[in-house]
Amino acid sequence: MSEAVQNGGTSNGAHSSGEIKPRKKSKLGKALSSKTFWRGVIALVGFVVFWELCSRTYGWTGIQIPWIGKVPPPTEVIYAWSYVIWLPGYWESWYLSSARVFAGFIVAMVLGIPFGLCLAVNKYFYDIFFPPFEVLRPIPPLAWVPASIVFWPTTEMSITFVTFLGAFYTIVINVLGGARSIDIRYLRAAQSMGATQWDLFSKIILPGTLPSIFTGAAVGMGITWEVVLAGEMISGGGQQGGGGLGFFIWSSYMGGTVAQVIVGMISIGIAGYLSSSLIRYIGSISMPWRRLF
């Protein structure tokens, strides 16, 4: 009782910090006590145990379980990983693949967003540029690999180019669709309040298209990772001593162990997850009004 009175009597700052702290805790506590969280944990642990048991069955009983029985068990993968993380080539591969993905992706954003907006806003631009765009779009990025090796001076540039193509089409299509689907009432309201063309573009069309831009970016990012790995496998990595995660998988397959191949695969999963988290994070910062939904 007296403690409570004393607490109430202390300075306002101390009181309010005392009020905020348990709230933060309860948020974390909520996540830890939520059934969804624990189901996820159990599912992941269960999966790893299942995989371990299936892989080991052959060694123990001589019976090989199809498909998964040939895969090295998680313990072996982790062991391989613990070896691989000390190799500079592994980290260099991370760096190289990420650099290629981001270079291609950023170029795709820088060119794709204005291009998509121009298609949406200007009829002449659309009439002239959309038909060739639509003819080129169905060509899979990987089909461009031989051609791009021919017409780019370095392998590095041709991989980046193919990566760029992977994201470019998706971004353009999303921007175009997003800008076109902006509610006409917003445009009318803005125009009747005296908006100039630039006001319309910067304050209405651009923010109205942002959700589609980020959708396009998230999908494009996924495609970019697919494309960069395939490009690296085909082109042989481009550089000596660690040519990217795709090359890492390929060279592990050719000269290393299957466990290392799986290390490479999981690395890509992590890299892709980190990239899309980054995009989601940037999206939520630049679209505060969307955080409510």
């Binding site: 917003y186 009318r188 309201a189 009747s192 005296g194 304050k203 009004w289």
Partner: protein, 282 residues
């Protein structure tokens, strides 16, 4: 009208003269508005009722400058908005539309929404615009939510903010296209009182499209009943209920008689529209 108010409207008289609108003149030829004439006085609250799809919104779009007209002229304070030489009126901040379902920009907070007009017209600096927007929102009882996004507030608050966004431009005419549609009765009556309060203060001319006859009579100086498509004026009811009005009006005998009259006029058109395969009254 409203003698007990010190503000007397001097602007915002709309004159609609023999306006006809035909959509797609080369193709199917749908006549939306047929030789419609209507005089709306400065500072009048003119309520437009009629069956769905009868062409009320076409008329509003013509005044706002969203759609062209085929024949006739529309004047605002003696100046031609649109006519034979210029079928599409210029869009301007003297005629602001409040849309069905609301059209606050979802990516701006309420205060930024309200400040948008003066900012883009460059009639105020950014700081002045925000300052005035803040004051006007507070006046409308939205001071606490001024920094919130439209998605964070109730539809009633959003609609009130939208009217504030229109008023900050000091328009001659407010064009309201069924702004309170799909609201529950209680919210609606709060909206009505707040609109009446705004009107009593500003005496802005109001062109208000609705399906709700009680709403029309409660708010309006006149209720214009339109025929089914093509739209023209069928009957004009004068609403001689004194202003300022509050919800007690709703239970007065005078009010009930007026609603009855309006119903008779609208019902006939609604039946015609229904028989013509049109969608029924909402």
């Amino acid at each position: 009208m409203a003698d007990n108010n010190n503000t007397k409207a001097t602007k915002g008289a709309i004159s609609i003269r023999n306006v006809t609108k035909i959509y797609d003149p080369e193709g199917v030829n749908v006549m939306a508005v047929d030789d419609c004439s209507l005089e709306i006085g400065a500072g009048e609250v003119c309520m437009i009722v009629g069956p769905s799809g009868c062409g009320k919104t076409t008329l509003l779009n013509a005044i706002a400058g969203f759609h062209s007209i085929t024949k006739g002229e529309i004047y605002l304070d003696g100046e031609m908005l649109c006519g034979p030489s210029k079928p599409l009126a210029d869009q301007g901040a003297d005629r602001i539309v409040v849309f069905q379902h609301g059209a606050l920009f979802p990516w701006m907070t309420l205060i930024d929404n309200v400040a948008y007009g003066p900012k883009v017209q460059e009639t105020m600096t950014k700081a002045e615009a925000l300052d005035k927007a803040g004051h006007m929102l507070a006046e409308a009882g939205l001071g606490d939510v001024a920094g919130k996004y439209p998605g964070e507030v109730s539809s009633g608050m959003a609609r009130r903010a939208e009217i504030v966004r229109a008023l900050i431009n000091d328009p001659k005419v407010l064009l309201l296209d069924e702004p309170y549609r799909a609201m529950d009765a209680l919210t609606k009556s709060i909206m009505h009182e707040s609109l009446l309060e705004v009107y009593d203060r500003t005496k802005v001319t109001i062109f208000f499209i609705t399906h709700d006859l009680e709403e029309a009579i409660f708010l309006g100086d006149r209720v214009v009943v339109m025929t089914t498509r093509p739209a023209k004026t069928k009957t004009i009811l004068d609403v001689n209920i004194e202003r300022p009005r509050d919800y007690h009006v709703l239970s007065s005998n005078q009010f009930r008689v007026l609603v009855e009259d309006a119903k008779d006029a609208v019902h006939e058109e609604a039946v015609k529209a229904f028989e013509a395969g049109e969608r029924e009254l909402a």
